[in-house]
Amino acid sequence: MTREDQSAWRDTLRAIDLLTLDPSGLGGITVRARAGPVRDAFLEALGRLKAPLFRIHPAMSREALFGGLDLTATLSSGRLVETAGCLAADITPMLCMAERCPPDRAAELAAWLDDTRGTLVMLDEAAEPGEIAPPTLQDRLAFFVSLDPIGRLEATPYAYQGVKDAHLKLDDVETPKNAPDTLVSIAARLGIDSLRAPLLALRAARANAALEGRDRICGEDLETAARLVLAPRATVLPQQPDDPPGPDEQTSEPETQSQDTDTLRLPEEVLVEAIIPHLPPDLLEQGRSTQLRSARGSGQGSKRRSNRRGRPLPSRPGRLGNGARVDLVATLRTAAPWQSLRPKGRGQVIIYPSDIRLKRYEEKSDRLLIFVVDASGSAAMARLAEAKGAVEVLLAQAYANRDHVSLIAFRGDDADLLLPPTRSLVQTKRRLAALPGGGGTPLAAGLRHAGELAIHARGQGLSPTVALLTDGRANIALDGQANRTAAREDAAAMAGWLRAEGIPALVLDTSARPERALNALSKDLGAHYLALPRADSVTMGKTLERALHDGLDA
């Protein structure tokens, strides 16, 4: 067991201790871990919680979780029987496979947390970077620990004492006046938007003080709270504050003497420094992917309601016809309670039209990658060959993912659809090879073509994503005039249009030096910008592929 492992494990145990002390105030803990001895040790430690753990699963029915009509018992006993639902009992629910939890179930659980001030443990078994436990719930749980980096545990060094006394103290722990200020400004510097985070951190600090037998929050408590609660939520690396940190060093001396005043001298800088090693290692990467997500990217294919195929959804009342399929079991369930009211046949079940329940399914639509390739003179000089290569690398991958691809090239004074949406790899390669270079850069025309194609494709049930490969020096306006200013304005307007239509996009800068105008354009597009000044086609393709998967598959 390395030293990092030890300290990570100690932190995990500390989080459990704090949770045991203040289960309703802290909300719970999210654990990212694959099954293994470390996770087992963790779950064993969780046994400390007052309310016993109870496994729940995202696919459990509403009735099973929150209670409802118990149909079997109702029919057999002839009176209304309701089940309480497992969440009504005095338990700590543990949501397994939290990354598979659909948003509506997450919202129900969030409402349960808010109403009952319950405690929830989320087991996040995410393997892919795109998979994520529901943010609605994560926001409400104080702690997040990732057990995967912990290699192995030699013994379970789980010594635990003094919680009983701490319970008594919890309410009496004093809060120095500036403790909330410190936590809030640390949260702001780490780019944490939700105000629940500093609030939970404050509670964690208080619990930590009680656990240590203090009757007043001190700097160490704040550091622990910031490390356990705030650090995992960070979205940016902390920036230096505007005012110079000089005074902090000077005033750290009298700190020890002025203990009795109501404020606490807390060098915020020291706290931030202390938690920097605990920030998520892939912070930059994460920041990038959330940025992409908020750009409405869903390269995975958006969800469509359908009544024919896909993943089943709860059935709903409706009429027959229009190719709808009857959910026989649900229909019978609806009709069953009313049988004693309806005219009796001989052993027949009477079904009224209002009982009919229809099946519904949700399916993922196929993804369409629209490559918009700059084949102008400037690009041809620079990197057209690499761009073509990158598209091929990506195509191979797209083919494996069973995506559709399409190719638009712009050069001269207009853009052409070289390849309508297809799955044929061979065809694409042939068209790419034949793609000539030269002429002006009608960027706006290329974007307009891409937008039209994307909207059309969406109408056919595909989920389009636009990948723009260019060096960004737009010089031909939409009307075909060679006018740099007009060309740039037109390109920006088209980018805004694509964004308003909600078409996710990706901009790949192929110029020798990163082009500032292109960065601005990608902002207009709401797209992710990748500058690849010196990459060869394989690196370029790989990067593009990763960007599409990391960000857009979320």
């Binding site: 948003p103 500093p198 404050l202 009313w338 004693s340 009211l341």
Partner: protein, 334 residues
């Protein structure tokens, strides 16, 4: 919850607070939609408002909170004419709720045990004369949202089922909240909400600190904290009550009507719902601030919350819809 967080103690979020106060003054405004980030106090504000409103008088045991015995529905079979006071109802509509539970349906227990048809009122009945709150409205099944908006607009709930034909009053203020990251609301539904507010996490550090401090001391001792804010909450309540009284007497001059229409034309909002809501909400605001007639200032102040969700998406305009409304207001009203 016995002690809701005090309304007046909510830091910032003035648009949201104003929208809620306006609907409390004129329930016919057609509900509020609050869209915004996680952890910005959306649900806190709804519960706070309900706690702030004065209790209502209702017939004892009446399932639809009727004010007079003659308004009680006959299916309730009430004999008593006693009047009791109840807190303003705030009904939570949980996600995954069934249509039966919302509108009311046959009483399953009586059907099974006594074999008789009886109506069991649903959430709409319980919300009459109060608030119906839907958290995560964007995740609610579309057909339930349709149904809710229909009832909210007509003020009456109609149930036809199993030979039962029931209608009862269902006048409530619909409050929907949600996080746009998890899915957007269809434009048809957006338009049906009277007011819409976008809330963001306050960017000012001092504000954020204040939020945390207040929330923390509230959680330590809710009753004591609520007591400390009782006076301020009372002031808002009195203003709302006074505004309700004076609402019908507010004068609306013809130029103001013209301004409303011109504003909506300039923004290209579909239908006339925009004008009506704009007028109603500015009238409610005039009543709240104690003015005798609607002025352009009132219009200016409510235009963003009354109109921003009724605009067509303009692909070539980067600015948010609130900015577009403000711009149009500046152009039209000068």
């Amino acid at each position: 919850m016995t002690h809701a967080f005090p309304f007046s103690a909510i830091v910032g979020q003035d648009d949201m607070k104003q929208a809620m106060i306006l609907t409390a003054i004129d329930p016919k405004l057609g509900g509020v939609l609050v869209f915004g980030d996680r952890g910005t106090g959306k649900s806190t504000a709804v519960r706070a408002l309900a706690a702030l409103l004065p209790p209502i008088d209702a017939v004892k045991g009446c399932p639809v909170n009727a004010a007079h015995p003659k308004d009680c529905p006959d299916w309730a079979n009430l004999d008593s004419k006693e009047i009791e006071t109840r807190p303003t109802p705030v009904i939570d509509l949980p996600l995954g709720v069934t249509e039966d539970r919302v509108t009311g349906a046959l009483d399953i227990e009586r059907a099974l045990t006594q074999g008789e048809k009886a109506f069991q009122p649903g959430l709409l009945a319980a919300a009459n004369r109060g608030y119906l709150y839907i958290d995560e409205v964007n995740l609610l099944e579309d057909h339930i949202v349709d149904l809710l908006l229909d009832v909210a607009q007509s003020g009456e709930n109609l149930v036809e089922r199993e030979g039962l034909s029931i209608r009862h009053a269902a006048q409530f203020v619909l409050v929907g909240s949600g996080n746009p990251e998890e899915g957007e609301l269809r434009p048809q539904l957006l338009d049906r909400f009277g007011l819409s507010v976008e809330v963001r996490t306050p960017t000012d550090i001092e504000d954020r600190i204040e939020v945390i401090k207040r929330r923390d001391s509230y959680e330590k001792s809710p009753s004591r904290y609520v007591g400390r804010w009782r006076k301020k909450d009372g002031e808002i309540r009195d203003k709302i009550l006074a505004a309700r009284e004076s609402l019908s007497g507010i004068d609306t001059k013809k130029p103001i009507l013209r301004d409303c229409a011109e504003l909506c034309v300039a923004l290209g909002s579909d239908g006339l719902r925009g004008e009506l809501t704009l007028l109603r909400s500015s009238r409610a605001l005039a009543a709240y601030v104690g003015a005798s007639a609607v002025t352009r200032d009132h219009l200016r102040s409510v235009a963003p919350i009354a109109l921003s969700h009724r605009l067509r998406r303009d692909p070539l305009d980067e600015a948010g819809s609130v900015a577009r409304v403000t711009r149009a207001v500046d152009e039209v009203l000068g």
